[in-house]
Every structure is written in structure tokens, then in C-alpha cells.
Amino acid sequence: MTKKKIRILIAKPGLDGHDRGAKVICRALRDEGYEVIYTGLRRTPEEIIIAAIQEDVDVIGLSILSGAHNVLFPKIIDLLKEKEADDILVIAGGVIPEKDIPKLKKIGISEIFLPGSSTQDIGRWIKDNVKLKSL
């Protein structure tokens, strides 16, 4: 039996157009053998959740550099719960002040990768945690 590939949605909520990081991560994860879907820019929480469910992903990676994370992330998590899709792991990266991290983890963002994180570390984290979850 062939093992099912891990599916990842890289999503850009917020109004900023900084997609360098999101695109580099999409390409790096794809090269490591993951199935990667990229939403494109400026997606609402609703659009992100619909895409995640339709694409049946294991992980949502949120990339945001606009400063709106404290408003948009809780919405995304709430919507996931509402749609009973909160088995999907949610991780995030971008310009996020360190003091916001504990709050965001508490509401259900599993991990936050700050600037300087390596794509290999992100890939490794995904592999370990998706495996852990499916045990």
C-alpha cells in the first residue's frame, strides 16, 4: 500500500502582499515530497477554511506580515471548530511579536515560525506532528 502524502495548505490571510516567504515554503515543502496547495493573496478566514476542507489537508500554514494576526487567527480557529475540522493542524509564520505567541498558541495555533526559520525545520515539524496525530 502506498503511504498517503501529507497535504498542506499554505494560506495568506490579511491584506499584505508579502508572498516571498509563503512561496519559498511552498516550493521547499513540495521538493521534500509533500502535496502543497497555495491559496494566493488576501484570503478571508472563510475562504481559507473552505479550501482546507475541500482539499482535505492535514496542515494549514498561515503566512501573515500585516499585523492582523491577533484578529484573523482566532477567527480561523473558531471557524475550524465550527466546521468540525479542528483535527487540521494550524501553524503560522511572518511578522509576529514574541509577546503575541503564547496567546496564539493557547487558542490553538500549534507552532509559530519566526523569520530565520529554516524550511527544513518546518518540514520536519510537520512530519513529526502529523505522524504523532495519526497514532
Partner: protein
């Protein structure tokens, strides 16, 4: 007499000596494996030789290739006196929260010796939507100052005489609207549009290429920009109608060369569209300005700035037959590189900023923004922004670098790099010419793809430690979180209340009529500036004005690729 002759080495002698030195001295001294493994490429991946000599400048002609400052081809600077006549403008980009908050920060910066203003708008303004739009949730006042209507702009510049400061506004697809608001504030202060000065970024091409703040498709966007060229050259003669920007191209991951080439080709595209409209080359060209990035690789950056001036002078004189020397000048603003800052050990960023700023000054920039050490986390705190400004002041007043014009001119390495940068950029420009111009190239996705490839290559090089970033992939250590500027949600409440009040107290019949007139003018392909001015003066909001135009022009959808 005899001994003097002996010192007059021929090129052949020099070549021989160099080969000997390389083989017998240099190669032996770098014999160890450690040295063999070291990477001697620039941050853009360009191979750098161990030594540059007069042999690298074969065919170099001082007057043709460099000339004197203020003289064609301006390699050494656009002004004859450069910083001896006037220092560069220290222009820190700032804006956050409400117009009241930012107005206070501007007055603080001006009182501390800053010499020009530079407005950062919040993302809804940059995207042409109002604060009460559903996409504005969580964004109000975060990345910059919230401006929805003329009412906000009046507060933003309250107590700041617009005939005495110059203001740069980073605004792109809705540039015409924000510029109209600024003109209107000036008129309310009793300052004629003829006497205000500043810059609007107004560069849509690099938005499709890199920064991705777009609204309309490329062609109507270009039309709107040429409207501002036409209006500006007649009505607002001291205004820089565009800041053709490489900054964002570089931040999105391009190499120094790609930044240079794409930016200059963008410039050529605007000139071609303006000529097609029937504008006179020497009427608008002196008001074109540029904006570059200053990244970490010191000499590569200096070469980039010098090559930029030389290529542009040639393009304007030879390709477009401009007669006015001012049309040949490439005047530019520089900002230090945001992406080069690290979240790890953030105080190290002050050193990066200083090196980058020095490259900008040695490259002959007209104005400079130095980034703050905390910007990988949030908008800068007042303390961080003060250190950034002081960095420029120390450079200007203590280091002595402003004493001499183009102090690196003539250095073998710098001249060779400049020459190579020039030749390779021209190659790229030709390639885009062959595609049918930059709008076409953007539609093909050519520059987008080139940049994404460079960004990915660089990231891989960092992960393989071929490129070292201090504190990130080497010399790591734990650090205490630093305190950052916090924009609380009360900003949104205040902004929404003001917007509601504006919509209630203005003459709504008049607003509606002005918006309809604008729409009709867009349909008839008229110059939209006078119509936009009427709209803003009646307190039509930015979102309302842009929505009217969306009805005619549609919206751009970017193909999703990575």
C-alpha cells in the same frame, strides 16, 4: 632618467607580474582546505575575484565612463557638489494608528532633525478600501496610518506647513487619490499646488512584479499613472510624480542585478507610455525619481547605484533623445534592506543598517531611510526609530564620508563591478524589449518567475550555510524578547467613528454626483485628476472613489504560482 623609465611598466609586464603573484604567492597562501571551501560570491551569487588591477579596466575612459559629478554620464553623482552642497535628505518612513498618532510622530521627527516626511499608510488605504470594509478587520492602523478621506489627511498634516516640508507618500494603485487629498490640504492651508513638493510612489509595475499591492489590471493602471504625469507637469511642477522602485523587487528576493535591470526597464515603460500620450519628454522626465534597496553586500550595492545613474543617463539621452540634462538625471531614494534584518539578536540589526546606509551614501543617494532594529517584529518603537535616524546623523557629521564626492571612484574593484553591472543590466533590458516591453513581460510572468527563483536559491544557500547570517545559521544564542510598538484595537474604533461622522455630515448628493462624473470620465478616457480632486474635496472616501473606477476598469487577478 633611466630608473624613471624602468618604473613605466607596460601592460604586458603587469599581466606577467599578476600571473606570477597569483601562482606563487596567492595560491600558496590560500592552499588550505578551509579557504578552498569558502564562498567568494556576492550576496547575489556573483563571483568575486581575489584582486582587481588596472588590467580589469582595459578600455576604461575616464571622461566617457565616469565624467565629473553633475556631468554626463553622472556615474559620480547627479549634482556637481553632492553632499558638500547639501547632505542627503534624512527621510524616515513612518505612519501608524490614527492620523492624530502619526501627526504627533511627524512633529517629533521634525523636531529631532529629520528633514522630510514619508507617509506609511495602513493596508486598507494601500489597497483602496475604507476602514469599514470587511477586509479591513484587524488591519486598521497596523501597518501605517489610516486614511479614508480628506478629513483624515487634514489631521495628519495639522500644524505642518506644506510649503516648508517635502512629503513622500508610499502609495501605488490609489496614488492619484491620496495625492489629490494632499493637494487639497495644501489649498486649505493657503499653499498653491505650485508650491508643494514631495513624491508619490505611483509605481504599479513593481506591484505586479513584487509587492503585490494592485487593484486594477495593468493597462488601466498605466493610464491612471500617465494622467498624474500629465497633470503634475502642468499643475504641480515641484512634485516627483513617480518613484520607480527597485526596493520591493529586491525585498521579494531578486538579485542586485535584477533589481537594477527591472527597475530601469520599468522606467523605460513609463516614459514610452507618456510619449504615446503625447507628452513632451523634457516636460515630465525631470520629475521622475527612483527608489533603491541598500542590501548587505557593500561593494555590489555601490556599483549598482553608480551603474543605475550611468545607464539611465544614456537611456534618456540616446534612446529617448531628451535634451534637458535634468531629464538625464537619475535621482534616487534609498531604504536599507528590510529582509536582511534578523529576528534573532535584533540589536545586531543596527550594524547591518549602518553598513547598508554607508553603501547608499557612497553610492550617491539623494535621500535615505534607515530601518529600525525591531522591524522583524512590528512597526518600530520610538526608541528604535531614533537610533535609526542617529545612524544617519553620525555618518553625515562624524565619519567624514560626506566630505569627498564619490570617494570610491577609480577603485579597480568598484569600477569593474560598476561596468559589469551596467553590461548585464543592459542585457536584461534588451531581453524585455524583445518581449514587447514590461507590461507584456509582467503578463508573461517573466520578472515574477526570475525573482521567485532567486529567492528560492538564496534560501537554499542559507540553509546549506553557503551564506552565513549571523545569529540565524551561525553564532546563534538565546535573547530576551525586545519591547515593540503595540497598536491596540481602540484605533479601529476611533477610525470607524470618524468615517461614520464624515459620511453623515458631508453633502451626499454632491458626493454622488462627483463620483458619477468620475466614472463617466473614466469611460470616456479623460484625464481623471480633476475629477478625483473634486471627489476628495467633497469628502468622498477613498473606497468610494476606487469602487467607482473598479466598475469601469475591473480588478486584477494574479495567477497563483510558486
Amino acid at each position: 632618467m633611466k630608473s624613471l623609465k624602468k618604473e613605466n611598466f607596460s601592460q604586458k609586464d603587469m599581466k606577467k607580474s599578476l600571473i606570477f603573484w597569483k601562482k606563487e604567492k596567492y595560491d600558496k597562501a590560500t592552499h588550505s582546505d578551509v579557504n578552498k571551501k569558502r564562498d567568494f560570491t556576492s550576496i547575489s551569487g556573483k563571483k568575486i575575484k581575489e584582486l582587481y588591477t588596472p588590467l580589469d579596466l582595459d578600455g576604461f575612459d575616464y571622461l566617457r565612463d565616469l565624467g565629473f559629478p553633475g556631468e554626463y554620464p553622472y556615474t559620480r553623482g547627479v549634482h556637481p557638489s553632492m553632499y558638500r552642497g547639501r547632505l542627503w535628505t534624512m527621510r524616515q518612513f513612518s505612519g501608524f494608528g490614527t492620523a492624530e498618532d502619526t501627526n504627533k510622530r511627524y512633529k517629533y521627527l521634525l523636531s529631532h532633525g529629520q528633514t522630510g516626511l514619508s507617509v506609511a499608510f495602513h493596508l486598507p488605504t494601500l489597497m483602496g478600501i475604507d476602514s469599514d470594509h470587511h477586509l479591513s478587520q484587524g488591519e486598521i492602523g497596523k501597518c501605517g496610518v489610516a486614511v479614508d478621506s480628506l478629513a483624515d489627511m487634514e489631521i495628519l498634516f495639522d500644524g505642518i506647513p506644506l510649503d516648508r516640508v517635502s512629503t513622500s507618500m508610499t502609495i501605488n494603485p490609489p496614488a492619484a487619490v491620496l495625492w489629490a487629498m494632499y493637494i487639497a490640504v495644501g489649498e486649505k492651508q493657503g499653499v498653491s499646488p505650485k508650491h508643494i513638493s514631495g513624491t508619490i510612489q505611483n509605481d504599479i509595475l513593481k506591484e505586479y512584479i513584487a509587492q503585490k499591492t494592485f487593484i486594477f489590471p495593468p493597462r488601466p493602471s498605466m493610464k491612471l499613472i500617465i494622467d498624474t504625469f500629465e497633470f503634475g507637469s502642468k499643475e504641480v511642477p515641484r512634485w516627483n510624480i513617480i518613484s520607480i522602485s527597485g526596493y520591493h523587487i529586491r525585498e521579494a528576493g531578486s538579485t542586485a542585478l535584477q533589481e537594477l535591470a527591472f527597475t530601469l526597464r520599468d522606467g523605460i515603460e513609463y516614459v514610452e507610455w507618456a510619449l504615446e500620450r503625447g507628452l513632451e519628454i523634457d516636460e515630465f522626465s525631470p520629475r521622475l525619481s527612483f527608489f533603491f534597496n541598500a542590501h548587505n553586500d557593500f561593494f555590489e550595492e555601490i556599483a549598482k547605484f553608480r551603474a543605475a545613474r550611468k545607464i539611465w543617463a544614456e537611456v534618456m539621452r540616446e534612446r529617448f533623445r531628451a535634451k534637458n540634462p535634468r531629464s538625464w538625471w537619475l535621482r534616487f531614494h534609498t531604504q536599507t534592506s528590510g529582509v536582511s534584518l534578523t529576528a534573532q539578536q535584533p540589536y545586531n540589526n543596527t550594524i547591518r543598517v549602518a553598513i547598508q546606509a554607508l553603501a547608499a551614501v557612497l553610492g550617491g543617494t539623494q535621500s535615505l531611510h534607515t530601518n529600525s532594529l525591531d522591524e522583524t517584529y512590528a512597526l518600530p518603537s520610538e526608541e528604535a526609530v531614533t537610533i535609526a535616524l542617529r545612524t544617519q546623523q553620525i555618518m553625515a557629521h562624524e565619519s567624514g564620508v560626506a566630505n569627498c564626492i564619490d570617494p570610491l571612484g577609480g577603485a579597480y574593484f568598484v569600477e569593474k563591478l560598476t561596468k559589469e553591472m551596467e553590461e548585464e543590466a543592459k542585457e536584461y533590458i534588451r531581453k524585455i524589449d524583445d518581449m514587447g516591453g514590461m507590461v507584456k513581460a509582467v503578463e508573461f510572468g517573466f520578472p515574477q518567475k526570475e525573482i521567485a527563483d532567486s529567492a528560492y536559491k538564496y534560501q537554499k544557500a542559507v540553509e546549506k550555510k553557503e551564506k552565513i547570517i549571523v545569529g540565524v545559521n551561525a553564532f546563534q544564542m538565546e535573547h530576551e524578547p525586545i519591547s515593540t510598538l503595540q497598536i491596540d484595537e481602540s484605533v479601529a474604533k476611533q477610525q470607524l467613528a470618524r468615517l461614520k461622522e464624515v459620511k453623515k455630515t458631508r453633502n451626499n448628493t454632491y458626493v454622488k454626483q462627483n463620483l458619477l462624473d468620475l466614472q463617466k470620465a473614466a469611460e470616456n478616457d479623460e484625464n481623471l485628476m480633476p475629477f478625483i480632486l473634486n471627489c476628495v474635496k467633497s469628502y468622498a472616501t477613498l473606497g468610494e472613489i476606487i469602487d467607482s473606477l473598479k466598475k469601469i476598469y475591473g480588478e486584477y487577478q494574479e495567477p497563483i504560482t510558486y
